[in-house]
């Protein structure tokens, strides 16, 4: 693959989480998910206990990816903001940096304008964190070890039994 592995450390996650928590408080939204464009969940904040965040992350990324293709067909490079409106809950998605998506789930206790305002502010700050992360990543980071692959092989035999 051409891209490096995405490696995120605790201190970065803490920064991101603090940022997301502040955004949630300001916008009075329910929860926020930070998702990689490939569908990996990076972090989440707020009331996510009742949500299948793994599946949600994959679907949000898929939704964003298909919208990107739509954008391309109408002559845009990418739609930076996406909004799904439901009866009670709504989702606001916005691009963070060049490879992450910030999804904010909110209900009628707040407004789309508030969410948009705070999400935009948050995305700018998160973009800076990711830019820092990218620089660090290209400088070199610890990867998976031989032992990890070997142990995984043993685990596979246990789980995948016909």
């Amino acid at each position: 693959m051409t891209e490096d592995n995405l490696v995120i450390y605790e201190e970065e996650i803490e920064k991101i989480d603090t940022n997301l928590a502040r955004m949630l408080k300001g916008a009075e939204a329910k929860c926020a998910l930070l998702v990689d464009k490939d569908g990996h969940l990076i972090t989440r904040q707020g009331f996510t206990h009742s949500l299948d965040t793994t599946a949600l992350a994959a679907l949000l990324a898929g939704s964003f990816a298909s919208t990107k293709e739509i954008a391309r067909l109408v002559g845009e490079s990418e739609f930076s903001v996406l909004f799904h409106q439901g009866k009670k809950d709504h989702i606001h998605m916005s691009l963070v940096g060049d490879r992450s998506i910030l999804a904010v789930i909110f209900d009628d206790r707040t407004t789309i304008g508030m969410v948009r305002l705070y999400a935009k502010e948050s995305a700018t700050e998160l973009g800076k964190i990711f830019a820092m992360l990218k620089d660090r990543s290209s400088a070199g980071s610890p990867g998976l070890t031989d032992e990890f692959a070997a142990s995984a092989g043993d685990k596979l035999d246990d789980i995948f039994q016909d």
């Binding site: 051409t2 995405l6 989480d17 965040t53 990816a65 092989g153 685990k155």
Partner: protein
């Protein structure tokens, strides 16, 4: 690319099942979903048409357990195989760490297999990936069907790059796990080679773990595991969760009750305000309680004036107005009293001054009353108004 999250202690890889339509990609995932223990799998999501053909992708997250303190998670995706879904098929390929090419072994499907393989190479190239670098396993599915081509022929036509290949009957599960195990191994090996930098990077919480795994030869694998939580896809209990400050999760919902103290204080204040209202009204109503004319006339001349003036300023529109200048039955009674009460006093005063004052008063009262009338239907006729005015003029000798 592989995602390594040190905060949640997760390693996540993306594996994509590729191949022509109806070759059995979704069937592979369904079998894995059926056989993997519930603790090791998440919910399978299928974005399919009504005819159960994959429209966008199928998604199945599996968790093979904790290795060196990290939960190893694999996200299995399938692509839509049909030719005209190439746009969405390409999207699913993004960020794939490994591929399983599911080929249909039937002789009549050989062209479709070759076309799909060509399409795979093209789509990978569009993302800038090299088909020779990405881990790929080829699965010859539907081996149980009578029209299946011999393995040698399939290998010769499809597996020109020397990928690992497996025979499979996805419906019955034959070869499904062998294929999956192999691709997972290849993906992890590839990930290891992508980033084999030394683990001595001084990272706060990550360093003990990575150091332990780096010295894997001397340290037993179990050394890392006590630190790590029992991770599963269904119930996510990451190491990061307890470390999260408690107030962070709450504020969105805690922010709401804040206005309540203000509301209650407002409610407390409101009754006190309401309680203040009756005392204000009390002086107005209290002198009116005695119905007899004698009592009222005894109460003095100065007292009635104020209530009349107040009544004119604050007309009660809900009450019927018998004539202009009156704002209700109470005011009318007041008015009658004041007129009779003024008579003796007027004799002592300068008559002209009283006349001018009364004529001004009647004009003002008329104007105020007419402007505050609720509706035209409630207004007395012009004739009645004129008659009343003339009565007063005649009474006081005003021309």
């Amino acid at each position: 690319m592989v995602s390594i999250n040190y905060a949640t202690r997760e390693v996540t890889c993306k594996i994509v099942y590729y191949g022509p339509g109806l070759s059995g990609k979704t069937t592979n995932l369904i079998y894995v979903h059926k056989k993997v223990p519930a603790t090791s799998k998440g919910k399978m999501i299928s974005l399919a048409t009504e005819a159960d053909r994959t429209l966008y992708f199928d998604f199945l997250p599996i968790n093979i357990g904790t290795i060196n303190g990290f939960a190893a998670k694999f996200q299995l995706y399938t692509v839509p195989g049909q030719v005209y879904y190439n746009a969405t098929r390409k999207l699913v390929l993004r960020g794939a760490d490994g591929l399983v090419f599911v080929a249909d072994s039937q002789v009549e499907k050989m062209d479709e297999n070759i076309e799909s393989l060509t399409n795979l190479r093209e789509n990978l190239e569009e993302y800038g990936y090299n088909i020779d670098e990405i881990p790929i396993v080829i699965q010859y599915n539907k081996r149980d069907l009578p029209g299946a081509l011999p393995l040698e022929e399939l290998n010769a036509k499809l597996n020109t790059r020397g990928w690992k290949s497996f025979e499979a009957e996805a419906v019955n599960g034959g070869g499904v796990f062998d294929t999956l195990k192999m691709i997972i191994k290849l993906v992890l090996e590839k990930a290891k080679n992508t980033r084999t930098t030394t683990t001595s990077a001084a990272r706060t919480a990550a360093s003990p773990q990575t150091a332990a795994s780096a010295a894997g030869a001397s340290v037993p694998p179990a050394a890392g595991t006590p630190v790590s939580p029992p991770a599963s896809v269904g119930t996510r209990q990451e190491a990061g969760a307890p470390a999260e400050p408690a107030p962070i999760r709450e504020p969105a919902y805690q922010a709401k009750p804040k206005p309540r103290p203000d509301d209650t204080s407002a409610k407390v204040a409101a009754p006190s305000f309401e309680q203040n209202v009756p005392p204000d009204e009390a002086p107005v109503t209290a002198p009116l309680q005695p119905a007899s004319m004698a009592d009222i006339s005894d109460s003095g001349a100065a007292a009635p004036e104020r209530p009349v003036a107040e009544e004119v300023e604050k007309p009660d529109s809900s009450m019927p107005r018998p004539f202009p200048g009156s704002t209700g039955r109470i005011a009318r009674r007041e008015r009658r009293i004041t007129v009779s009460d003024f008579q003796p006093a007027a004799r002592d005063e300068d008559l002209s001054a009283l006349r001018s004052r009364l004529s001004n008063d009647t004009d003002q009262l008329d104007n105020a009353a007419i402007s505050s009338l609720p509706s035209p239907s409630m207004a007395p006729s012009e004739r009645v108004v004129k008659k009343k005015r003339n009565f007063f003029k005649r009474l006081l000798g005003i021309k």
